[in-house]
Structure formats: C-alpha cells, structure tokens
Symmetry: C2
Subunit: 498 residues, 2 copies
C-alpha cells in the first residue's frame, strides 16, 4: 500500500482556544486579579512553547469578550468586571445548544462565593440531565431488556453465600475471585493473555479513563484522540489541561501516516481510542491496523488506551481481537467495561495493564476511592458466571439489532438523512440533511421532549455540527419509531423556516 | 484569652522536598532527558515563586542522590542513569519502614516500559496490603460487629421492591430518595440545614477528598492540613502538586493565630480538617473554635473541607455540631461518611455543599465515575432508615468503647507508653517509650505479623517518628490484648538491643 504521507493538520484552532481556557481559568481562580498585568505574548508563548500568533489570538478573543483589556504600549490587563456566565468554550453561537436552566443548577451557582475552582465541564452529562420523553442521547441498555427477576433472585443467593458482604471492604485492585474469573474468560473468549494480577476492577469505564488521565497527563501534554470520539473522555483530558490531537476515524480505520506524523512531532503521552464498534460512529478498526498501531505505540513510546465498552454487542460476527492481544511490551492498557450491557447498575469495568502501568494505576485507584465496593463485584461475579447471563447476551444482541433496524427504517422516511450501518454497539452516527445544524435541531428537540448527542461535543475540534448520535438501545421499537418520526418532522420544519 | 501570635513556621523542609519532587517528577516523565541542562536556580525560583535557597537545596539533594550532576560554571544536568527504586520521599533512613517485596508489585514494575506517569504514592494503602495476624493499622469496623444476617435479609427485601435495580443507572448527584432521607436526618439529628440539592453521594469519603482536590488544587497551590492527619488525604494533595501547610492539632484544637497567619500570608485554597474524633489523634475541636474557624475561612476566602467520618461513634456524649452548621456563606464543604461503621461494604458518603462548590463537584463526579452505583445507594438507604440499624449503632458504640478500654489496659502493661483517651472514633494515638522509633518498630512488627500506622506518614512534615496509630475497631478483645502484648514485648526487645 503506497499512501502519500499527509502532514497532520496543525490544529491551530484547538491550540488557541486552549490558551484562552488556560488564561481564563487562571483569572477565574484569582491567580491574576482585576487590573493585574498579564504576561506578554512573547513571555507566555515561551512558557507554553507555542507560536506567538497562537497566544496573540487567545488574547484577542479574551479582549473581545471583555475578560482582558489593553493599555497602549504596555500590554494586557485583567478587566474589573468578568462576564457572568461561563462561555465554556469560545464558539460561535450556532455551535452551542440551549439547555433550559430549570434542568441544572448553573444559575444558582453564580450567587455563591468564588472558591477559585478550575474550569470543568461535562457536556454529555448535562444533556443527560434534561428530562425527555424520547431519549436518543442515552447509550444505555433499556432496563426492560435485562433479566431482572433472574438478577434479583440471584442477588439473594449471593447474600446467602456471603452473609458478611455488606460489612467487608474490597482490596484496592479488586476481588481476587472476580479477577480470576475475568482473566480466564478473557483468555478463553478473546485469546487475551492477562493474569489476575494484571487486572484492576474500576467503577465503570469512565473511572478508568479518569484514573489514566490522572496518572499520565499534565497541563499542556499532548494526547491523541479520535475525531469524533466519546465526549466525556475529551472532558477528562481537558480537565487535566492536555492538548488534544485529533485523528479522523473512518470506516477503514485511521490514516496511519497521520498517526505516525503526530507521534513523531508531538510525542503524545497517550492515544485514547475506541476501535471496536466505535462511539459514536460504529466503525471498527480492522485487524491489520491493530497490529500496526501497537508497533507504532511501541516505537514512539506512546501509551494506547483501548476503550472496549461494547465488545460483546455484535450483530453478525464477533469483532477482531483487541489491540491488547498484539501487545507484548506493555504499551496498551485495555478497558473492558461490562457496565453497558450486563447489570449496568453495578458499574463494573476491568482494566488490563502490565505492571509498569498497573503500579501507578493502583495508587490512583486507592486515592480515588480505595477500591470498588465489594458488593458490586460479588454480585457481578455471580451474574457473569451464570449460564443464564450468556443466554441473555444472545437475546440482547437480537433485540438491539431489531431496534437498529427500526431506527434505520424510521430515518429512511425523511429526506437527506445519511448514516453508517453499525455491525455492533448502541448508536447510529447520522449526517443531517443539508442546511440543518445539530445544535439548532437539539435546541428545538429539547423543547419537544427529545434529546440526542450533537456532533459538536464528540468532535475534539468542536465542529461536526452536521452530525448527531442517536442511540437505539434505550427505548423500545415503538418509541424509537415515534421519536425518529418526530425528529424528522422537526428537521423539516426547521429547514422550511429558514 | 490573650495568646501571643506566633508566626507560622515557614516549613522550609516541606518546600524544598516539594521542589525536589517536582524536578524529579519531570525527569521521570521524560520532560528533561539524560544530559539535558536543567533550569538555573534563579530561573526555577522565579517560575515557582520561591526563595532561591529552597531551589538550591532541592538541587543539592538531587545531586546527592545521583539524579542530576553539575558542570562547573554551567549548571545542573540530568544524569545518564537514574536510581532504580523510587526514593518516594527524600527522608533519612530511619524515617522509612521496610515492606517485604512479596506484598507488593513494586519490584515487577521496574522491568516494564517507562510510560512517564507522574509520581504517586499512597503509603497507607501499602501498609494495608501487608498480610498480618494482628492488624492495628485498619481503622475499620470488625465485620463481626455488624448485624450481618439482618443486612442480608434486608437486601432481599430491597430487591423485591426494586426488581430492576441492577439494570438502572443512578444520576450523577445520587439517588433522590436517599438524598431526601439524609437531608431530613442531618436536620433532625445534627441541626444541619442542608437541602437534598446540596447533597452529593460519593463512594466513600476518600472519593470526596479526591474530587475536591481535583476541583480546587493546582500545582504549587497551598493547602492547610492538620499535623498529624489522615495520610491518604495528604497523598491526594501531593498528587495534585499542592504545597502542604501544617497546623498542629492539640487537645484544645488549633492555634487560631497560626491559622490566621497562614491564611494571610499564603492564601491557601483549602483547609482540610477532621475536627471530630480526629484521625489519628482522637481530639475534638471545641464548639467555640468551630465558629471562629468558619469566620476566618469567610474572611480570607479559604474553603474548609470538614471530614466527619465517625460522627456517630461517640462514647459518652455526642460531639459538638459540625462547622458546616455555622456556615451561612458557603465556605464549608462537609463530608459525612457512613462507610466506616454502617455497611462499610457499600461505601456511602454524603457531601454537603452550597451551589458554588456543588456545581464543579458534580462535573468532577460525572468525569470520575458518572455517579455512585444505584445498588449501593438503595441498599444503604433501606439499611439506614430501619429502626434496627439505630439499635446496631448503640451496640456498636458500647462494643468499641470496651475494645478501647481493653487496648488501654494492655498498653498500660508496658513502660513509658503514653496516649490520649479518645471519647469517640476508632483509634488510639500513642507516644512510644523513649528511644523507640516508629518505623523501626513497624519493620520488626511486620516480620512478626503485626501492623500499625507509623506517625511519619500522618505527619505532613514526615516526622513524628515517636508516635503511632493503633486502631481498636478491627479485632476482638482477645486479639487486641494478645497483639498489644506482642507489640510491647517487641518494643522492649528493640530498646534492649540498642
């Protein structure tokens, strides 16, 4: 294969908004107070090792928003009055969507004292707080698809077996019986060589991502992320002050030349990826690339964080083996979450890592919560090893495939909607008809009791305003159909009104 | 009261070891590589806003340990070979204790790739990993003191009531019924005005501390901590790169002049305190100081983090009201953990915070794990509201008081042991007989199957090597007696052998 290497786009937009965030964060925290002189463009560019133009553009935006002012021949100063609302990210108006304030506490927050906490956001979690009749934003399994009676009977057996369960702490790393079970299972079903010592139990995949960000990322570190990707991972990395380097994910995977150019040029600490039934696109990175990616990671000393949340939710054929299975040198950390589709109320994720990554992860986990509660682990263990649960998984696949088909049929009733048909996972990644923008549509949809995830928050660059993620996992067929028809109508109204 | 204000000791030792940590961390992460020239003393002192002598001493220690070398008339350079083991904290030999390597994974870690993770440690968690016949290091309730049969019967009722519990996610903030219950309970029993909206459910107090550190602390921020205090909180703050300002805690509370001088001079972001049956000393800060502390926090804009983990474990009289009850302006965040003494396997903590702190905490919680699993919350709720559990609490108090008395009697059999008699909580804070040092004693004790917490790890300055924490909550009376007698014998042998 002879592909001409493309130089990675230096995502200037990302960088200057990050500098903007950095400066505004320090002003909000009170490091720089009203009428303080700010560092010169030259000095700040030197400190952050950036091009001066990038810092200049950041100051320009801060000035435009009234956060700083300029004294002729002197420099930039902090304004007396700061804008009240957090503009979150400096985007144009059409790149934001409107959330009714009743849904959040954000308004009240403005009246309290300023504690100087850093800027943080998790936009996906804000969307999930919105009450909705049709929730296409929740990539969760409908609780009605779970074998609930079986599960609650099972719980009773577990408590008969471990009567002191509520009184017992887990170890930080996780229950040994559970780790042995998962180690054997990963070996049998996925050919993964991972010993119980190489497994850490976390409270869902989200915690694993947050722990890894805490261990590996410092302000201004580079991290490779897919474009688009899971937005709460982006928020985790941003919270640590990391710089995001976006790698497009396509039906056939990544452009490895772009990946290599980034690795060479920026020496990123980490490549966070979701190569199997990717969220939000549904794409699966082919086996041949998986091997090459592990080689690249090893060559350039970049840790791959492989997030594998829906490995078992495939429709026709199982996905290729995880990248972790190609890794002999310890450059891949593998997150296998069971939280999505098997007892989601228990929030169990297994993190596979060799000792070099496991040691700092264990410390981070001990500081984060001293270990996932034993109750969750023991209940999960006994559900997971039961024959019944494996039958459940087969039924679940069929049910989800039907829901995917229903969603596709309903979407086909509209004009100009385009999507990729996923072979697994919980989502459809949909291109909107021409002339529609995702955030406008979401604002209208929220008013009508319908939510979805706009492309903008999945895109590390904050663009992709012509795409949305619709989850088909949370509602039943009838409601999916109604909801999608409502969405299609709303879209038509919006296009006509313009 | 006319106390002459003492200037707070500028804890030079702390600061220079923190600079040492900072530089070594960056070398380990590969920011500065072998034979790179390091910033000059002058430049680094400027960047970190420290006295040059502090930076000079840090470089001195790095040089001594072979981490950097000096070129005449040029400056400091990174050495080719780095010491293999992590010297953790640059202390003298007697300030460290020996943990058998079989207990940890630290040895293996050295063979893997260097991912450039930051330096992290949680020494308490390492002590807990050591298998021991007599575990005085665990400040946990003996599972045999819990009403286990009642709890497991109860679980079954909860699952009958919520058959879909395992399939349902919690909100990020926590289950509403549980927050309503706790809000009413805090009001009724503790006169705390806290609405359900002002409560966040976390996975134990440890998670709450970690979330708060993430929201409020950036590298080189100052944080006030008690001396001694809970060592895992110190590790959380160190992990964020914060500078620790130690405030002595005594039987009658703090020296408020010292506190105020620190507030004035260093503008700390946070005062982390544990004013009720303090860990490890057992002291309780008197009511009059509580009010004054809240006023100081408000005057100087410093957030008080009030950790209240054993509020209900009192022996004779209930403790004074929490600082939170005096706070009208939102400068106190209150951590009420139920994890220690009521269904510890569920790990439930309630964080009370006004909106200004709650908003960023909710974001941090959503990024950390998307909310504490619902199972834990619902099981806790129904245990907590049952009449039986309140009876359990009364029995528990009596049982713990007896264990405390047994431990005191056993200690009295030795010579030169001194301690404070706590009126609640789980620990005795013990001064060793003259000539003994805690880490030597711990090393010997581990060999004989006995663990405790050495004062050094509770002290933000790493000293207090003549004090230890013994928990009387985890073992029964007979084993407490045997264990303390063993400890007393070991101490006598050590003194005689010197």
């Amino acid at each position: 294969m002879n592909v001409r290497p493309k130089p990675p786009a230096e995502s200037g937009k990302i960088l200057y908004t990050q500098v903007y965030d950095y400066i505004w964060d320090r002003i909000r925290r009170g490091d720089w107070k009203a009428h303080d002189k700010l560092p010169s463009v030259r000095a700040l560019a030197g400190e952050l090792q950036l091009h001066r133009l990038t810092v200049f553009r950041a100051y320009g935006l801060l000035k435009e928003q009234g956060i700083v002012y300029v004294k002729e021949k002197s420099g930039y100063y902090v304004s007396e009055e700061q804008p009240h609302a957090d503009p979150a990210a400096p985007k144009g108006e059409e790149a934001a969507f409107f959330v009714p304030t009743a849904a959040g506490v954000s308004e009240k927050a403005l009246s309290g004292p300023r504690h100087g906490g850093g800027r943080m956001q998790n936009t996906l979690s804000e969307i999930h707080r919105i009450p909705a009749d049709y929730s296409f934003s929740q990539a969760l399994i409908d609780p009605n698809l779970l074998p609930n009676l079986f599960l609650s009977d099972h719980v009773k057996q577990v408590f008969d077996r471990y009567p002191k369960l509520l009184g017992t702490y887990s170890s930080v790393q996780g229950d040994e019986e559970l780790r042995e079970l998962l180690s054997a299972d990963l070996q049998r079903k996925n050919k993964l060589q991972v010993s119980p010592d190489e497994l850490l139990i976390t409270t869902g995949g989200q915690q694993a991502i947050d722990l890894l960000a805490g261990v590996y990322l410092r302000p201004m570190d580079h991290v490779l992320v897919e474009r688009p990707t899971y937005s709460s991972a982006l928020d985790c990395f941003r919270q640590r002050g990391a710089r995001l380097l976006p790698v497009e994910i396509r039906r056939d995977g990544y452009d490895l030349d772009v990946v290599e150019a980034y690795l060479k040029r920026h020496k990123p600490r980490m490549f966070y990826m979701n190569p199997t039934f990717h969220n939000p696109t549904g794409y699966t990175v082919p086996a041949v690339q998986r091997k090459q990616l592990v080689e690249l990671a090893e060559r350039y000393g970049c840790l791959i964080v492989e997030d594998d949340a829906v490995h078992d939710v495939y429709f026709d054929a199982p996905p290729p083996p995880p990248l972790y299975s190609y890794d002999t040198e310890g450059w891949v950390v593998y997150l296998r979450s069971f939280s999505k589709y098997l007892a989601p109320g228990l929030r169990i994720c297994a993190v596979a890592a060799r000792a070099a990554a496991m040691v700092p992860l264990l410390t981070a986990k001990s500081l984060a919560d001293n270990g996932t509660p034993l109750v969750n682990q023991k209940l999960f263990q006994h559900c997971f090893e039961s024959v019944r649960l494996q039958l459940h998984l087969e039924k679940l696949r069929t049910a989800l495939q039907i829901r995917r088909d229903v969603m596709e049929q309903a979407l086909a009733s509209g004009t100009g909607w385009q999507w990729f048909r996923p072979q697994g996972g919980l989502n459809l990644w949909v291109h909107l008809p021409d002339g529609l923008n995702a955030n406008r549509l979401l604002t209208e949809s929220i008013r009508r009791g319908l939510t979805f995830v706009p492309g903008t928050i999945c895109d590390p660059m904050g663009e992709m305003n012509d795409q949305i993620r619709l989850s088909y996992s949370f509602m039943n067929e009838a409601r999916i159909q109604e909801g999608v028809h409502l969405l299609v109508r709303l879209a038509e109204e919006l296009v006509q009104s313009e």
